[in-house]
Point group: C2
Chain length 328, copies 2
DNA sequence: CTGAAAGCGCTTACAG
DNA sequence: CTGAAAGCGCTTACAG
């Protein structure tokens, strides 16, 4: 039989209220009484029922996390960062993905209504920003790990997309490259615009101009990265460096170049964005996004909000780092 | 203000008990009454509080999942499979990792004591098998995704390690290879013994003998895979194929071979195990473990147990598949 | 400093 | 078929 607060109270010869007080570190408990209660708690190995505490207090010390899918390369890193941070505060993490589309979202919504968690961490699944904003407006504390430049109306964590792209540009120019091509991500993502602007800006400051015909749109997949590169080569304009807006695209770029007999990095340098595990194995030069740290920062933001702090209006910005490897 | 069962009852002019009955699909409720209650529920958008239901019923419709770390390549796949399966039954997934070692485990243990979840899915973190068995013996429903051949005393899901290794052996022999080397995983893992036995058995049946000096121990990391390969080459015995016990090791093998000027697969074929995403990008021939399916199967097993079914004594076995790519 | 009582929002025998 | 009451295991005013 599970031991309850009533049993502890009886054994310690006090009321349940007093046990509750020492459990929660409330002041105004006689030192001797508190010691006795603590002793009993230790003796019987009492741990308060999470469910009962949750119901009585109206909050569960549990946070929900909504992500598109754990299959995406760096999602695990973000979740790991969040879990670590939450865990050290004793919070649990309820994980939701949108892997099964609308059905997943419906399940998630019903858990929101059931108040299964106190606050929400989210990496925006496609086309859900307005829904998430609704939840926030209805009073659910929300923090977003913003990987696509959506700029929501609530606290978020982002990276320096623009500055990361600038670093890539400066590095390539310093390495002697002059003819640049870019394989972007989906044009409607804020982060894509920032990466493109930062890259072109930095090049401009260095007196390097990029031919618009050498900027082609990808969709963050390896396949489209390869297709885009073929398009680039077919255009007939010379280029000696490609900036891809994420690592998966960059891998596609590398493949297409190799297939066409162009040597990386001798003929063409390739730089990606993200620094997913595969980037290391492929020796890909890339702009690192601190995914783990983003998860941690988001969790901290949410926890402080749950503890009553007022969240910052502006996004928390984490720095990117240029990781120079073999390809560029 | 949140709407409660009391409000629904009042609006529908019935007692809370009756609302509860229609909510839970109990029989013996007048059709008209039930319809009226359902109408009110829909009108006010009532969703029962997960916490209150959990307390009253003594179970939370939530499952815990304990994994070593989300950083490990295929953990995300397993978790995704589990989440999908649980979600379709309306269950939540509380995620725990052991990324911070003993501290993590202590937090996990306290959540177990607090009865934060009804059952546990686990990929065994290092040296925790006996602890997990204790939890099981104390009555917590547990299902293990057994990636290392531990054979616990409770339901588990495994893959055909032996048969996967046999398939690799047959494939390599059919491709004309005759001189085999093996880079194993940690020798104390059951799966490592199975993969080695299966490989050597199949070769034996085909009349091929493996020199024991060409079997070296790795630890499932790329670094040690490379080191092991150098050892292999230093031994001076010829070999034209390497079977590595996981993909990360295989990548190390490939690197070391390339560094030594040996061409893959012309000089040496390389076959791995797992089929993590990087394997595809590296064009690595490998034995695929259906990680997603393992997560799904484990979740189904646990759910049926929670619904009252008696779990199978023997492990559920999922088949591996040989994925032939460029390296072997 | 401490206890009795009410309340959190449900479910579940027990009666009828 | 339905309701009143007790109970799940805590927390929190309210008194003293």
């Amino acid at each position: 039989m599970r031991v309850t607060i009533a049993e502890v109270a009886q054994r310690a010869q006090v009321s349940k209220a007093t046990v509750s007080r020492v459990l929660n570190g409330k002041p105004d408990v006689d030192a001797a009484t508190a010691a006795r209660v603590r002793q009993v708690i230790a003796d019987v190995g009492y741990v308060p029922s999470a469910r009962a505490v949750g119901l009585a207090r109206g909050r569960a010390r549990t946070v929900g996390m909504l992500v598109p899918s754990l299959t995406w390369p760096w999602t695990g890193e973000v979740v790991q960062g969040a879990v670590d941070e939450l865990e050290s505060d004793g919070y649990g993490l309820l994980l939701y993905t949108v892997n099964r589309g609308a059905e997943s979202l419906a399940q998630f919504a019903s858990h929101v209504s059931a108040k299964a968690f106190d606050g929400l961490l989210v990496i925006e699944p496609p086309d859900t920003l307005s829904y998430i904003e609704t939840l926030h407006d209805q009073g659910l504390p929300v923090v977003m790990i913003d990987d696509r430049g959506s700029r929501p109306g609530f606290p978020s964590v982002i990276t320096t997309n623009r500055e990361g792209a600038r670093a890539a540009a400066r590095h390539l120019v310093a390495a002697g490259r002059r003819h640049f091509a870019v394989v972007t991500g989906p044009a409607d993502f804020g982060c894509v615009r920032e990466r493109l602007d930062g890259f072109l800006d930095a090049l401009g400051e260095l007196g390097v101009h990029v031919d618009p015909r050498l900027v082609v749109e990808g969709d963050f997949t390896t396949e489209r990265g390869a297709v885009a590169t073929e398009k680039l080569m077919a255009a007939g304009l010379p280029f000696d460096a490609v900036f891809a807006h994420n690592d998966l695209s960059a891998l596609g770029v590398t493949k297409a170049l190799a297939a066409a007999g162009r040597v990386v990095p001798d003929d063409v340098a390739v730089v990606g964005f993200d620094d997913i595990p595969i980037a290391g194995h492929a020796d890909l030069t890339t702009v690192r996004q601190p995914m783990r740290e983003m998860g941690e920062a988001a969790a901290r933001l949410l926890l402080s909000r749950l503890e009553g702090a007022t969240p910052p209006v502006d996004p928390v910005v984490l720095p990117t780092t240029l990781v120079v490897r073999r390809t560029g």
